[in-house]
Structures are given as C-alpha cells and as structure tokens.
Assembly symmetry: C2
Homo-oligomer: 339 residues x 2
C-alpha cells in the first residue's frame, strides 16, 4: 500500500507539501497541487484509508452498493442487510450506482476516503472489476451480491439465474407455448447472460426453434421499454409468451402491450425474474422466479463481517440461493379455453 | 464549536493525549481514554467535522436520511434526490433510520465523523429534534423532508397532509359512507397528527359523530397490523370504510380483512395516503392521496445545495407540495348496487 512518502517521491516534493495538499492546511501553488494530486491518483493513494490501515481503526460502518434503489428486489435485500448489520453491531450506508459504472467508481472513491470496514457490492456489470480491484488494493473486504464479475475471486451471494430461467421456460412450454420471446437484460451483466442461457438451453432441450428476432436486449431499469416492445410487435409471427429478464422489464412490457390493445394473459403470457414484493398481499399478478432477496442481504452481511473480523475461512465462498417459481395470472395455458 | 484544547481541558489531559485517543496513535491508559471520550461526548466534539470546518473542505457529498427503505414513497423520493444531486455535481449516500430515533442518532454521529456537506432529513419523529440540533451545532446544513419537527426553524419540503386527508374523507362521504374508521400513524410523527386532524375536521364539517373506538393508532411500517385490525373487527357497529394513514397501513389492513373473509371494496372501502408506485401501470387498486414523492427529493436537494453554497436567502423556506387524489377500485359508493 502506498504511503505519503511514495506520493512525495513521485511528485518530487516534500511529505509536508503532500500533507498540505491533503489537508488544505497551507499555501501550495497550483502546479504543485496538480502534480501531487496526479501522483496520488497514479498510486491509488487515499489519505483516510491509509491512515486507518495504519492504526487499524474500526468504524463498524458497512456500505451496501446497489444498482437501483427503486427496485423492490434491492430494497428488500437492503432491509435484510440492515437487519443483519444491526444484529452484528454495524451500521449500514447505502449507495445507488444507478447501473452506471462511472457513478459506481465515484462511490467507491468516496467509500475509500470515508471510513467503512467493508462493502456489500452489487456490481453494475463486468466493468465493475476495476472498482473492485481498487477496494482490494486498499485492503477493504467486500462481498459480491446478486451479480458475478468474471476473473475475480471473492466471496459471493448469488441467485441461480440459469435454473430460474429454465423453470419459467418449462412452465410456459408445459402450457402449450412454442413461440416465446426473450426480453433480456444488458450483456455486460452476469444475471442477464445466465437468464438468456437458461432460455436458450430450454428451447434446445425441447427441440424448439431459436429465432434471433425474438431475443431483444433492453435495460434492467424501469424507464422506457417502448422501442424494444415496438420491435417485438412488428414481428411477422408474434410470440404467444414473453420471458422478461426482470420485474421492471415485465412491467414495462405489459404497459406497452396494453397501449397497443394486447391483454395479458388473454393475448400473450408474461413471466419474469424477481417479484414485486408489495403486490404479494394485494393483487399478485405476475408469474415469477422469486429470489429470496431478504436473505441475499442477510447472508451478504454475515459473510462480510466474518471477513472483516477474520473469522471466515481463508478460502472465498459462494452462497447460491435458488429462486422459487410462483405461477400467477400473467401466464396461461393456450390450449385451454378462456374462462 | 469545541476544539481539541477544550476537550483536553475538560478531561484534564494534554492535547497530545486527546489526539492519541482520537487517532489510536499511541498508548493511553484505559481510565484516561474513558475520561477523554466522556469529555468529547459532553462537548459534542467530532474530530473530523472539526478538522473540516477549520479548512472548509468541501466533500460534495450529501446524505439522505429516510425512515423506511422499503416504502415506495421514500425510494421514489430517493430517486428524485439522486437525480438532482447528480445534476448539481453532488453524490448522495442513503441511511435508513427504520423509524428508530436511536438508530437515527447513530447515523447522525456517523455523518458528523464522515464528511458530508449537508443532510436531507426525514425525521423519525418529534424526538429527532435533538439529532437535528446536533447537526446545527456542527454547522452542517440540512433540509427537513416529509415530516415537521416542532420548535425548529429550518428549510422544509412538506406535503399537505391535512388537505389530503380532507379530500379523501370528502370522497368517502360523497359516496355514502358515514361510519369511517381511521387507522392513524404514531402520534409523535407530524404527518400522522395532520392526517388525523384532517379526518376529524371533515367529520365535524359534516356533523358526523366522532367515535373514539374507530380511531386506532398503528405503525407506518409494513410489519403486522394484525392486532389493530382485530380491535377494529371486534367493534359492535362496524365501519363501512377505512381511512389509512399511509400505503403500508392500507396494505396491512386489506391483508387482515381478507384473512377474515372481508372483501375490498364490496364489504368495506379503503383509502390511504401515498401510492404504491410500481402498481400504477400494472393493476392500480388503491384510492390514494398521491404525493409527488420524486419532487420532494428534487426540491429538497436543490434547497440543500443552495444552503450549502450560501446562495439561499437567509430566511428559512418551506415548500409545500399538495397531494393528488386518485380514485380507484378500493373505494365504492355504498348506495349504488354492486355490479
């Protein structure tokens, strides 16, 4: 880990000058300041985290980085993480990367300057690797949740996206569906790749045609799925069912379908990953692969705290929490007569 | 604002000893450490925030303190706050007080040690006054959102709970309801008091009886509203409608009603404050006083940043954002025949 002396050497100034730049505690000319800041950046030197690692000061503060604070999957996960943190004597702050690697990087830099003991990290995608390496370099323990990042060994709490996709597809095929569209998430997110793979594998298993025009990529966020649905509705042979990569994709799809006069499930069935938690009691509608999101948070914090306290085994662990298929009104048997 | 010398004087030690305790940078005996920590506590001395105010270091980091991360009212508000913060060049971390003043206090202390430029603060209740005074003492700007705290002059973004309650009650009365129960929120939260007052004032306006057994207090959180509903269902003359203090209270009430075989709206109408945002497109059901929660976040951050930059007027401002009444299937006219 770099020290203040390394920074001074690299910037060709005295340690006192570096200290002045960091603390704003005295006059430094603009050109020198820039050189020191450049050296700090190149060395990945973070004043506070370095000070901390020197004295091993515990803050008993954890951070949970999620990618979409409006998605119930993540808010329920946050609830679980918070309950576990409280039980273990930690506080938890939340950051929302908004599926944006640049924003994620800003938050990671902030967390390095602030003093957190560890980070529960839902990566915005494969590009998160750089940000995670930054954490590791600074010796901050982290646990990945929900999504994998290739080429990184670490503790993880993941769902089983392949299995969930397979089971949702089996449900549709059992109910007579043969032309099933897949509205998949961004390719740079592991869960999107796994769900797509589950879709493809299940079609193959049943010797069903794979039609590339029926596979459309979109964002996981709620925003507008208008264009995507437009594409789908312009197909010559329309699908009888949609497998949506998550709850927000399904919501967006249903909204657009309704705009065009299509009824779910009468005209088309819709199934998806992740539930809309608050709807469970009121008027559950969507057929889903429900992931135990609360448990993601609980297990994630437990693993993280074990890693912080050094009570974890030295080997990294992966916990896989399988989804539960819940069949509701948004999907129907197309061979059965409508009620 | 207290200095390290004040702490040293109070603890009857040298400033170097105080510094050692703060930084863990040398041996200090247990008894001395305790005395220093006690002195810091009594003086409200926070090492980092003091250092910061000395050098006026900007962090461009804001904190949003909400009371329930699973409630869509707050997650949509958070979304608005985040979008506004990004536009203005700030990052935002979230804390969830979980409606618990003790937890809120811990977060405030953490925010004082961490370096934030300002706090957007949804108070857990009237007891938040102490925590807000702590922020003010340390010179950290804040803006209250959603809830008021008596005896505190500050910037605020509030809804109009009285008006919303009045309009929901008018809707019920217009539709033939005369026995309307009120499941109100905790008395120590300003919105709960205002909504109850709106309920009472509207009954009086129409010369309707106020029956104390029909007014039941509960929590705003989703948890179990079982006991509360039990009380209501044991009444000799049952209500034909329920005015619920928020969305989660309504959800809990409907769940319990269904358990006991009551149908909404056939057997009883239910209206409430705050929408369930994700339901809007899918299967909107609840009659609500919908608050512009996204705008709460946007205006809150704007006011906060103006206060931080010193571009705000010196007088504190209050922005009131009125709710919109949306009538849906959960309430019906009891004089009309059922379809």
């Amino acid at each position: 880990m770099p020290t203040i002396l390394d920074v001074a050497r690299k910037a060709n100034v005295s340690a006192m000058t570096v200290s002045r730049v960091i603390n704003g505690s005295g006059p430094v000319n603009e050109e020198t300041r820039r050189r020191v800041e450049q050296a700090m950046k190149e060395l990945d030197y973070y004043p506070n985290s370095n000070a901390r690692s020197l004295v091993k000061k515990e803050t008993r503060l954890l951070s949970l980085l999620i990618t979409d604070i409006t998605n119930p999957f993540y808010t329920t996960l946050a609830r679980g993480a918070e309950d576990a943190a409280k039980r273990l004597g930690y506080r938890l702050i939340f950051c929302n990367s908004d599926e944006d690697p640049a924003k994620e990087k800003e938050y990671i830099e902030m967390l390095l300057s602030t003093q957190v003991d560890g980070v529960l990290f839902a990566p915005s995608g494969d590009d998160s690797l750089k940000n995670l390496r930054l954490l590791r370099k600074q010796g901050i323990p982290f646990v990945l949740i929900d999504r994998e990042v290739p080429n990184l060994e670490c503790d993880k709490v993941l769902g089983d996206s392949m299995l969930g996709a397979h089971k949702l597809m089996e449900h549709l095929i059992e109910n007579g569906h043969r032309r099933i569209a897949c509205i998949t998430g961004p390719k740079h997110i592991s869960t999107a790749r796994d769900r797509l793979q589950g879709y493809l594998a299940t079609l193959k298993l049943h010797d069903l045609e794979i039609d590339p025009s029926m596979i459309i990529e979109t964002e996981y966020t709620l925003g507008s799925h208008q264009e995507v649905m437009q594409k789908l509705l312009e197909l010559q042979t329309l699908p009888t069912a949609i497998f949506a990569a998550n709850n927000f994709v399904a919501l967006g799809a249903i909204k657009e379908l309704r705009k065009h006069g299509w009824k779910v499930p009468e005209d088309i069935s819709v199934v998806c990953f992740d539930d809309l938690d608050l709807l469970q009691d009121l008027d559950p509608f969507l057929t889903v692969a429900k992931q135990p999101s609360y448990d993601f948070g609980v297990f994630g914090v437990q693993m993280l705290v074990e890693r912080i306290l050094g009570t974890a085994t030295s080997n990294f662990r992966t916990i896989v929490l399988p989804p539960e298929i819940i069949i509701r009104r948004s999907s129907r048997n197309i061979n059965a007569a409508l009620e």
